[in-house]
Amino acid sequence: MPQTLDLLLALPFLLAAVVAAAHRLPRTVIAWIAALAPLLGLALLGAMTPAILDGQVLHSRHLWLPRIGLEFTLRLDGFAWMFAMLVLAIGALVIMYARYYLSRNDSLPRLLAFLLLFMGAMLGVVISGNLLLLSVFWELTSLTSFLLIGFWSHRQDAREGARMALVITGGGGLALLGGVLLIGRIVGSYDLDAVLAAGDALRASPLYPWALYLVLGGIFTKSAQFPLHFWLPQAMAAPTPVSAYLHSATMVKAGVFLLARLHPALAGTDLFFYTVCTIGALTLLVGAWNAIFEHDLKGLLAYSTISHLGLITMLFGLGTPMAVVAGVFHILNHAIFKCSLFMAAGIIDHETGTRDIRKLGGLRRLMPFTSALAIIASLSMAGIPLLNGFLSKEMFFAAAIETDAPLPMRIFTGITALLAGVLGVAYSLRFVYESFFGDGPRGLDTLPHEPPRWMKIPVEVLVVLCVAVGIVPALTVAPVLHAGAGAILGSAMPEYDLAVWHGLNWPLAMSIAGILGGVLLYFGLARLLNLHAVVTRAIGRDLFTYNLELLFVAGSRITRALANGSLQRTLLWLVLSALVVMALPLLLDPGTALAWNGGWRTPMQWPGWVLWLLMLVPALTALRLYRHRLLAVACVSGTGLAVSLSFVFLSAPDLALTQLMVDMVTLVLLLLAMNYLPERSPRETGLPRRLRDGAIALVAGSVVGALAWAMMLRPHDTIAVEMLQRSLPQAWGHNVVNVILVDFRGFDTFGEITVFAIAGLVVHALLRRARMAPERHFDGPPVDLSMPANLMQVLAPMVAATSIYLYLRGHNAPGGGFIAGLVLAVPLLIQYVLQGARSVESRLGFDFIRTIGIGVVLALASGAASMLLGAPFLTSGHLQLQLPLIGELELPSAMAFDTGVYLVVFGAAMLMLSMMGTIKGSRTRKTQRGVVDSSGRSAFTGEEPV
């Protein structure tokens, strides 16, 4: 049996795939393939029927995600069996109907594939034995219904209807998920058997109201309950087979299905009773009332469906065993007559080209057979005796007045029931009278006639069922109903009698009153006001659409207000966030954080203060002059020099060297860029903004300074001591900084040269094909700098030798591959400046990108060499050679790594400089802002006055 259940569920999905894949086959063949799913499914169900009628519950369990309690458990009890029958049987009819309904222009395989997917999802909902799994299928029905409603995607109403359905039912699905998770928390399991058995624990839990409301959120949205009912009429933009299937028999029933499914677990409290009854009653009335004034055939049916769903909901809310039986019964009855009505409406639409009641009329003459079928189904909808609708409606009346609720509530439910009868008759009458009787049809393009034979068969089957159930319920529906309701109620199953005649009693009186009242109401309304002129407005839908639009606008406004793409704002938030996290701990505990820890202050010799001034005064000058970029750059150079000197002063010669070299190259890059940038920054921001930024800057400076200060006052306990001790004996280097760079933390350097190499590549990529116009251009030939260039020829070899020297000595004295690489680059760079790029490059003939590549490979290889000897990457070795003549030669293997560094740094630095120095001029303009007027420049700034 478990495999049968699995197969039952798998069939629709498998066949959906087949249909989608076989989309080139003839339409009838495709329809038959599709119909295999429900037909085979029904056969499988049939095989399981004896067991079900015997009261057994069939299970199939697979593991999916036991970690969160989500197991692939399928569970077939009587109720699920009944529902599965409904889903499959009506599914088969709908497929047959759809084959003939769909026009040549529409893709039948697509519709059928979607329908089958939906069928599978719906079956999943029905036979899930695990609540999480159920919510999975639940959302799948929302999703597939979205695809089905939007099938005619070129139509705006279809798109909107689909989206509305998705938003509301999908949102409800999220609520359901929340509810299910809560139930799982309370019960400790999502297994349906466990949950149904834990009703008392659930109801006693403090979380019960939350769980209940979240689950009801899912149920009510799915079953189109007031006030979120309006998506259903909107969904009528779907092709009729879809409406017939989803909006009468299956999807909307998923809500009430779940209400019934969880009835044993959730029902039985006042909260449940009042909430569900009230919502159901309101939905019933609102739906029915709206149905009367709807001019669209399908719209009328949709509102009627809402009303009937309200009725079913109300029945489950009432909660008495009889009411539950009635609810289950009405689920069946409504599915049968409403499906046939939708199909009939589809036939009318198909044949007449319109669904507008106001244009229709007198169809009984033109298509008598269809009319007869539709009229019978309508009467069932109205609850006329001898038809199935009558039976369940009478049970409803009985249940409504037989609650043990307080009197006001009983009056309310009673009146609601009566009104339900009246209004149901009224809209059914309108549907029948204005479509099939009277004069008309008006203004149609073609003369309508009976549809193809096969299109009517599904309707006939359903109408026959209406009549059969209505007349001989005990022979037809009784076992099904018993199995279905019994599965919900269990031992509480009441004694009931499925018969047309129960004698004279209150329900009968209410039925009669309802019929009479309905007839009176319809004709009264028709007399009093011109029904055709009534314009109904779905306030709920309008409100929803409006709110959704509002949400989009709000989303877009808020987003644009927050993320306006401004760098200034982005940086401001970053700086502010950093300030907050840095300042808060200090402010919360200033006593210990900034304690004056006297013993750790070191007095500073006065040259230090000179450096201090030398560092800060240019910085502040740069701040004052920043709009004059050249001056600011000069000031930055000053600060950079002072920082380097400070590093020397504070025992960090390597740092000083690096900082000097890097500052030099940065200066060159800045100046190269300035040729393509405006010479000054305009003053753009107002004073308040500048004051704000100034304040932030001050706070930032104070906070960072205070942190640095406080940090320096703490005792210093570092692992570096061990590095000092092990550097010479184990890494064979005197210069511990260099040893750290190439040995202890060589991997950092590894990353660092990679960054440097990539920077070169990025610059190359950005400038390779770029053409730019300089900001301003000097007329005339380049200045003749042959004298300095000539001197550089003397100097450059010495600098190159110095580079080698720094590289070789790095391990034992300040220097190393990085510094050496830059030192080698600088004389070349100066030659670029003095001789011109073309002149240098034509003679140099160097492929810097390859240099980078070779450097990286060398660094890699030197690091990996140790791996061959069974030591980790970058393990340094040491070679002490005794060479004749030369004497002792020490070769730490880190040298090879440093060579890689040297090559990468040289290559990347030169790549950047050469790319920036050899930018091609723009094709379209020579300069951005014209030629420099040499005589008009300000000696103060070097800029041209505006």
């Binding site: 200045v783 700098l785 004298m787 300095p788 001197l791 550089m792 003397v794 100097l795 010495m798 040499s934 005589s935 420049r937 000696a939 070097g942």
Partner: protein, 108 residues
């Protein structure tokens, strides 16, 4: 002997300090770019040269051996100082067209 070297070094240092100071003073005191250009580019260079010489002697005196390599710095300075002065002068001339002298007299 050491005292004599000490005295030589002191003399070098004093001279160096004076030249450096003169260069810096000239940089601040003189009123015109071209005049200012003279003071630091040479006085300072010479001053630094003196200090470097003193440094060589000083480290020799401290028993650290003859560190002639510091003279290389002087070599560098003497090669680069004219380049710097030349270019700054050119730049100043470009920015102060009023200072531009008459074109050179024709040949012959």
């Amino acid at each position: 002997m050491n005292a004599a070297i000490d005295l030589v070094l002191i003399a070098l240092l004093v001279a160096g300090s004076i030249f450096i100071l003169v260069g810096a003073l000239g940089l601040v005191k003189l009123s015109d770019v071209f005049r200012r250009l003279h003071a630091p580019t040479k006085s300072s260079t010479l001053g630094v040269g003196c200090v470097l010489l003193a440094s060589v002697g000083y480290h020799l005196l401290q028993g650290e051996g003859l560190q002639l390599r510091e003279l290389l710095i002087t070599v560098f300075l003497f090669i680069t100082a004219p380049i710097s002065a030349h270019l700054i002068g050119k730049a100043a001339l470009a920015l102060l067209p009023g200072h531009q002298p008459a074109p050179p007299p024709g040949d012959d």
